[in-house]
């Protein structure tokens, strides 16, 4: 193992890590807003990847162009899921914690089943996107272009999100609702509307990630499952609810995965991520950046 290989894999790990951050940030946003873990988050990603795929297959729209469309579609989807399902799960009188876990969990299973039924379990891919399969060399390190662009999109999305939360009315309403939903209602902010927009925003972010992922990853009904687990680890590492913890968590996960792949057989690369999750929560039960 030479220094070049190590730098090479750390560089690709960093790129993947930024994408993991983008996949996970919607989850963190929703959790921070209303203390609900969306166990269907991976399936949101899967859906976004299929939407990207079908836009390409039927209308020949390149993933790079369709990304905003996918994000917009996912925004609507996320808001609808909140209004139709999650809103009612929050009203449960008994077992509220379990109801929330199992409602979104049931939604995940349902979406996976529907995808198998309508899209078949076949693996699909977008073979001829503009960026697909291209690499670029930076000082002797070869980087795949789709991942590189994905990482840039992720950085841009995090920047926009930061601006959005700090500078816009809705962003402030989001922060305020996160702080104290009861007080917010007193000053005339409709909690349900903020929650619906929060779900829309969370889904739009994972939609963006899905469009990027579709450029270089296979698309199949179970694709969300493995990424979802990584997303939970990412969010937990950052401390549930911390949007910028998800950013840091994503980078850590990407680097840990790349390092594990250097040491262990490739089929075990996820073990490193899972082990780091356990290690972190055993030492800090609220994640690295989570507040107690």
């Amino acid at each position: 193992m030479t220094a070049a290989t190590i730098i090479q894999s750390l560089a690709s790990g960093l790129l993947m890590g930024l994408l993991y951050g983008l996949i996970a940030v919607g989850l963190a946003l929703i959790f921070g807003l209303m203390d609900v873990t969306n166990f269907a988050h991976g399936e949101f990603l899967m859906l976004a990847m299929y939407v990207t795929f079908f836009l390409f297959a039927f209308f020949a729209i390149d993933p790079l162009l369709s990304a905003p469309l996918v994000a917009a579609a996912m925004f609507v989807f996320g808001a609808v899921i909140y209004l139709v399902i999650v809103r009612f799960a929050m009203r449960a009188k008994a077992n509220i914690g379990m109801v929330q876990i199992f409602t979104t969990f049931g939604l995940a299973i349902l979406m996976r089943g529907l995808a198998q039924f309508f899209f078949t379990p076949d693996y699909r891919s977008i073979p001829t996107s503009w960026l697909g399969g291209k690499t670029v060399s930076l000082g002797g390190i070869f980087l795949p272009v789709p991942q590189l662009v994905g990482a840039l999109i992720s950085l841009g999305a995090f920047g926009a999100l930061f601006f959005f939360i700090k500078k816009t009315d809705f962003g402030r309403a989001l922060e305020a609702t996160r702080e104290d939903a009861g007080a917010v209602a007193l000053i005339g902010i409709d909690k349900n509307r903020v929650f619906a927009l929060g779900w829309g925003l969370g889904a739009a972010l994972v939609g963006l990630a899905g469009a990027v992922m579709a450029m270089f990853f296979y698309i199949y009904p179970d694709v969300g499952a493995s990424f979802a687990l990584i997303a939970y680890v990412t969010v937990a590492l950052g401390g549930f609810g911390s949007v910028f913890g998800a950013f840091a968590g994503g980078i850590i996960v990407g680097l840990v995965e790349a390092t594990t792949a250097l040491i262990l057989p490739p089929s075990l690369k996820s073990v490193g991520i899972y082990a780091v999750y356990l290690l972190v929560v055993f030492i800090r039960p609220r994640g690295l950046f989570g507040s107690i």
């Binding site: 914690g97 199992f102 299973i109 899972y274 039960p285």
Partner: protein, 326 residues
């Protein structure tokens, strides 16, 4: 303790005895192998879900990683039998003990975690074990292990011609899991668990040993789950990580309890009796192309039940069984 609780417990016992007697006689009238197969699976999942319910329902620690213990039971039995010729009965017991010990070892760090952190930890731990078994050549890796045929007998717990012995074992297993739960409900632990579930901080302050009672629940739950895994390995006589340790099993163990009524004595049985035949029948009627239909069914059922009947289907019965009188 008030008398209504004691009466309810006596009535539960009588109902259970009647149901068990009926279940014993059913195979005399049902000769169809396909139906018998579904009945075996239903009893097995009822027992597994009952075991899951001890930790997930009574103690309120939602585990979505019980496939780990199921797989450990299956692998211990099968490996001991194929590599060392140890009879499955000892393997079953050994698998149970190993699982209970591992549950204690894992519980030590995990029970500090709360809510989502705990759930994700259980998934992640089972996933690590799954990946390790997938890469463990001595244990068959991804190819899995065929249980060698040694002829039908109770000693080797192999029956190729008839499903009845498996049916009766599953019935006994189900009854044992039910009885253990029944007994625990009224034990010191049962009260502790409900206290821990309702409000761990208050329980702690009242002198309930929160940590130890969680550990006890985990050990009992894991032991019984591993027995189920060992049984399943004998029943299907072939195991690989996908078929005994995948996330699917963790889900299938939790579902009947969630559907029937989490943290209730009859919930897992009711849930399994509805869910397992429904899935098996859907699967065979929709044929191979209908892959995914079982998932659609599970998913829709979980969402609907969670929203409409958070206390489970058991809540539909007129007399509400609300655990213990508070």
């Amino acid at each position: 303790m008030d008398t209504s609780f004691a009466q309810r417990r006596r009535r539960d016992l009588i109902v259970a005895a009647c149901l068990a007697a009926i279940a014993t006689l059913v195979p005399l009238f049902v000769k169809d192998v396909y139906v018998q197969n579904i009945m075996v699976l239903t009893l097995m999942y009822a027992a597994l879900s009952q075991s899951w319910n001890i930790l997930g329902g009574y103690c309120g620690q939602i585990s979505l990683g019980h496939a780990l213990y199921f797989g450990l039971g299956a692998y211990t039995t099968t490996l001991l039998f194929t590599k060392f010729g140890v009879l499955p009965w000892f393997g079953m017991l050994g698998g149970g003990l190993i699982s209970a010990l591992i549950a204690l070892a894992l519980g030590y760090p995990c029970f500090r975690l709360r809510g989502h952190y705990f759930v994700i930890a259980t998934i992640v731990i089972a996933e690590i074990a799954y990946l390790l078994f997938l890469n463990w050549d001595w244990a068959g890796a991804a190819l899995g292990i065929d249980v060698p045929v040694r002829g039908d007998s109770w000693a080797t717990f192999q029956f190729t011609r008839s499903k009845l012995p498996f049916y009766y074992f599953a019935l006994v297993f189900c009854c044992v899991a039910w009885l253990v739960t029944w007994w625990l409900e009224d034990s010191k632990w049962g009260y502790w668990w409900r206290a821990v579930k309702d409000n761990p901080d208050a329980a702690e302050s009242l002198g309930v040993v929160v940590f130890n009672s969680k550990m006890g629940a985990a050990a009992v739950s894991a032991f019984l789950t591993a027995i189920g895994g060992a049984f399943y390995a004998q029943f299907v006589s072939y195991i690989d990580p996908e078929s005994v340790m995948s996330f699917h099993f963790s889900l299938l163990m939790a579902l009947p309890a969630v559907l029937g009524g989490i943290g209730t004595l009859w919930g897992p049985v009711l849930g399994a009796v509805i869910l397992i035949p429904l899935t098996e029948l859907t699967r065979s009627f929709m044929g191979g192309s209908g892959r995914g239909v079982d998932l659609i069914l599970y998913g829709a059922v979980i969402v609907l039940i969670s929203l409409a009947r958070p206390e489970g289907l058991i809540g539909l019965f007129s007399r509400r069984r609300k655990g213990v009188a508070r």
